[in-house]
């Protein structure tokens, strides 16, 4: 069953002339790991805001079509109700943490829901352990590094036990190493807890190996929607201006020289295995 569905979704911000997203039809199944990418201003962030009801409840504007999340139409349900099903993690970790200790921050959403205190403690401890920041529990968020802050942000939505986590460029403020470890943690949530992940990401090199689906947007529309091994083979990807992962580029170059690796590699490890395989079969 689809956990998230949009039907003919078109949205125009208040005071804007043109719609930011146009005619989006998207179905995401439970347990999927979806990457959304595309050039800046293509409507990725706007789409994320539609998923948890920030659009239209917080932003106003003109929404056409429907978004159905976990069986709830976002038009008819307030954000706080949708927040139990969809966790949204933003780009800048600094601006999504408000409390003075990590523990209080992770508890924030649960406190708002009015859960019993023991339950909050249990869930906060769980979320902190899953994201690997239990030791930072009593620290102040602003003392932490960007990567740690982003982990706190993820823990704080995780504590609400949503079925879907939407991450809007969670690594853009981070160095490559912390970006990699954050993405690994996100993948772990997807694989071990079965949480549906929708990840908006530019760093395809690091992210694409975890995804089972890549959506490429341009000018408010979905242009391509396919498995990561297929999607980059489309010539339009280059025209839109999406940076191909380096391993895919190498694969394409080799293919031009009539070296067929058999499938599109998604990580350097996979690429090297494929090359070794080809070399071996050449010898024999």
């Amino acid at each position: 069953m689809a956990i998230l569905e949009t039907r003919n979704l078109t949205y125009t911000y208040p005071f804007a002339e043109n719609p930011a997203i146009k005619d989006i039809n998207l179905t995401i199944e439970k347990g999927e790991f979806v990457i959304i990418t595309g050039p800046s201003g293509c409507g990725k962030t706007t789409l994320c805001r539609c998923f948890n009801g920030l659009i239209p409840h917080f932003y106003g504007g003109n929404l056409e079509g429907d978004v159905i999340v976990a069986g709830l139409n976002t038009r008819e349900h307030p954000i706080y109700e949708l927040a139990k099903h969809v966790g949204l993690v933003f780009q800048n970790p600094e601006n999504q943490l408000f409390a003075l200790t990590v523990e209080k921050d992770v508890a924030f959403g649960l406190e708002n829901l009015g859960l019993p205190r023991e339950e909050i403690h249990r869930r906060v401890d769980w979320a902190l352990r899953v994201t690997g920041i239990y030791d930072l529990k009593d620290r102040a968020p602003f003392e932490l590094s960007g990567g740690q802050q982003q982990r706190v942000a993820i823990a704080s939505v995780l504590a609400m036990q949503p079925e879907i986590i939407v991450l809007d460029e969670p690594t853009s403020f981070l160095d490559p190493l912390s970006a990699k470890s954050i993405l690994e943690s996100i993948y772990q949530l997807n694989r071990e807890l079965g949480i549906t992940v929708i990840l908006v990401e530019h760093r395809l090199d690091l992210a694409v190996r975890y995804a089972n689906r890549v959506i490429i947007m341009d000018q408010g529309r979905i242009i391509l929607d396919n498995s990561p091994r297929e999607v980059f083979l489309d010539a339009r990807v280059k025209l839109i201006g999406v940076g191909l992962p380096k391993v895919v580029r190498l694969y394409l170059l080799l293919r031009e020289d009539n070296v067929d690796l058999g499938r599109t590699p998604l990580s350097p490890e996979e690429l090297s295995d494929l090359i070794v395989g080809v070399l071996k079969s050449d010898k024999s």
């Binding site: 805001r49 948890n52 920030l54 409840h57 917080f58 954000i79 706080y80 109700e81 927040a83 139990k84 966790g87 949204l88 933003f90 800048n92 600094e94 601006n95 999504q96 943490l97 408000f98 409390a99 003075l100 200790t101 523990e103 209080k104 508890a107 924030f108 959403g109 649960l110 406190e111 708002n112 829901l113 009015g114 859960l115 019993p116 205190r117 909050i120 403690h121 906060v124 102040a140 968020p141 602003f142 704080s156 939505v157 609400m160």
Partner: protein
């Protein structure tokens, strides 16, 4: 900034840190009242020095010393104003008594700052907001308070980087007369305000996404409970207040000048 350092919370553990903020607040209020009650030097001196054990117990000595140094300017200002006005209008018999009186007034100010410092340096803003909440202040206000404190270092850092950026583009802050200097800060204030507004939008988004306003009865992760030591602390404060009231109304307090003359 260094003056305010003395008012910033130190996250350390001490007997004073563990006292309930409400009890500490009552203590500070009583201290205020006593400081205003007396205008003679001797009781104010006693009051001033009686705070020092508390400062040592709370392990905030360094911050306290820095704050004391920071208040020197205002203290000197108060001392000089007092001296001048008392000399011309006070009708005091001797210069010594004028000095004594001025010192007392200055000390009164220092005691107020001192007690504030002890309160803020030993009370985490979280606890403070929690106690406000439990006294019935709406959560929205407490949240605003916490957020303000949370974002002070962030905004300070941002102001610094904007300042650096504008300086790199040739803005000279320390040039020109007073009016010019104030105008020099406009290129810093505008980006700062714009980014603060943008930041608040993002913050609001994040709050909404975490079920802000979901339930009328919001749970709090922690609750404050007054314990035996808190009640003891309040009782001691009240006893001190009663004693000072008694001394103030029924005991003659000699001035230091008199003591020197007769002693």
């Amino acid at each position: 900034m260094s003056v305010f350092e003395g008012l910033r919370f130190r996250n350390i553990s001490s007997p004073i840190h563990r006292i309930d903020p409400r009890a500490k607040f009552i203590y500070v209020c009583i201290l205020f009242a006593i400081a205003v009650l007396f205008s003679q030097l001797i009781p104010l001196l006693i009051l001033f020095f009686s705070q020092i054990p508390l400062v040592i117990m709370a392990k905030v000595k360094r911050e306290w010393l820095r704050l004391m140094r920071g208040t020197m300017f205002f203290a000197a200002l108060i001392f000089i104003t007092n001296m001048i006005s008392l000399y011309f209008y006070g009708g005091y018999p001797s210069l010594l008594s004028i000095i004594e009186r001025s010192v007392a007034m200055t000390l009164r100010f220092i005691i107020l700052v001192e007690s504030f410092s002890i309160f803020f340096a030993t009370t985490s803003p979280d606890m403070l907001s929690l106690s406000l909440e439990q006294m019935g202040v709406p959560y929205e206000f407490c949240f605003a308070f916490i957020t303000a404190i949370r974002f002070v270092p962030v905004l300070a850092e941002e102001a610094q980087s904007i300042m650096d950026a504008q300086k790199a583009r040739g803005l000279e802050l320390e040039r020109g007369n007073f009016i010019k200097r104030i105008r020099n800060y406009i290129p810093i204030l505008i980006p700062l305000i714009v980014s603060a507004i943008r930041r608040s939008m993002e913050l609001a988004e994040a709050m909404e996404s975490r079920a802000w306003g979901a339930s009328k009865k919001r749970t709090n992760l922690y609750t404050l409970k007054m314990g035996v030591k808190d009640y003891l602390f309040i009782s001691i404060s009240i006893i001190i207040l009663v004693l000072s009231l008694y001394v103030c109304f029924f005991v003659y307090i000699p001035s230091l000048a008199e003591l020197i003359r007769f002693g």
